[in-house]
């Protein structure tokens, strides 16, 4: 369970970004999360609440956009979404692919701020 330390980093980064923009209040943090990041959405959401408690972010929301895993199919020569991370292959032709194009994301994309 490393979601709490990740949530604490998110809170810290949001605080810094808000301060750099002269904002006092962070209403929400938007985050892109891929299944291959090794971070579990539900655990991160509850950890975020804990990390925000008694911080300037208290009461702010974490809005998670789940990013599907995409690989490059060597047979179709095109990017494809995989059906599941237990089966890393092209859903159309079935060719296995180890070239992950997307799905490892763990990034803050936007903040909702006010003065």
């Amino acid at each position: 369970m490393h979601e709490l330390s990740i949530a604490m980093s998110i809170v810290e980064m949001a605080e810094e970004e808000a301060a750099a923009r002269g904002s006092a209040h962070v209403h929400a943090v938007h985050l892109r999360l891929g299944p291959l990041s090794g971070v579990v959405k539900e655990a991160l959401l509850s950890s975020f609440e804990m990390a925000c408690a008694a911080s300037p972010l208290e009461g702010s929301q974490l809005l998670i956009e789940e990013v599907p895993v995409m690989v490059f199919c060597p047979a179709c020569r095109a990017p494809k979404h995989v059906a599941s991370i237990q089966w890393m292959c092209c859903p159309e032709c079935g060719a296995p692919s180890s070239e992950v194009l997307q799905g490892k994301e763990l990034e803050i994309t936007a903040l909702e701020l006010s003065k």
């Binding site: 990740i6 904002s23 209403h27 929400a28 090794g38 936007a110």
Partner: protein, 233 residues
Amino acid sequence: MSAEPRLVEVRKNVLKQNDVVARALREQYRQAGVFVVSLVSSPGAGKTTFLEKTLTLLHSHCRVAALVGDLATENDAARLARSMAPVRQIITGTLCHLEAAMVQNALQGWDLHQLDFLFVENVGNLVCPSSYDLGEELRLVLLSVTEGEDKPLKYPTIFNSADVAIITKMDLAAAVEFDEQAACRNILAVRPCMQVLKLSSKTGDGIQAFLDFLGERRSRSRSAAEAAAWTAT
């Protein structure tokens, strides 16, 4: 009362701090010419026994060292020190994984130029270590025959973050009716093209093949680094 919030675009990798340190470590390793291998697995998969065997065999003709991460105790470092290679323990306390900065701190005072191989044994955990780059060149994920063939399907992320899978405790395979084909099929389902090696640290079967593989990967990596340096000049 605060005003209507405004949406501000920010692009920030949450693990940026770790990634920056990992990149610096990778560069440091490249310059020193040391090949760095990390090991991940569930607790009890045989990382320490495997590493002790590897260090002992490599120590006779190579310069090797190891870092070993654990929540508590220095037992693993004491076990690995029997190989006569320099070993340092990283005690993580409550943290369930190693981070690049912990590796960086643990390396203080070691001259990496004096090493051919450095091994970094992560905390036994198949979940959290997958998120953290340690600057290693090769990440090995160990799976012991006693754990069940479907481990890769249960923990796809860690298998996906690793470069090579090592099936350990092969001497127990028959006793636990280990289905090797199913295990390999599951490994390849979550990480297509992954190289799989099988061995027993107890009997030594398969260890030489692993050492040959390691030597080959190291020379390949050195040639690539030399070619890159030559192109850059």
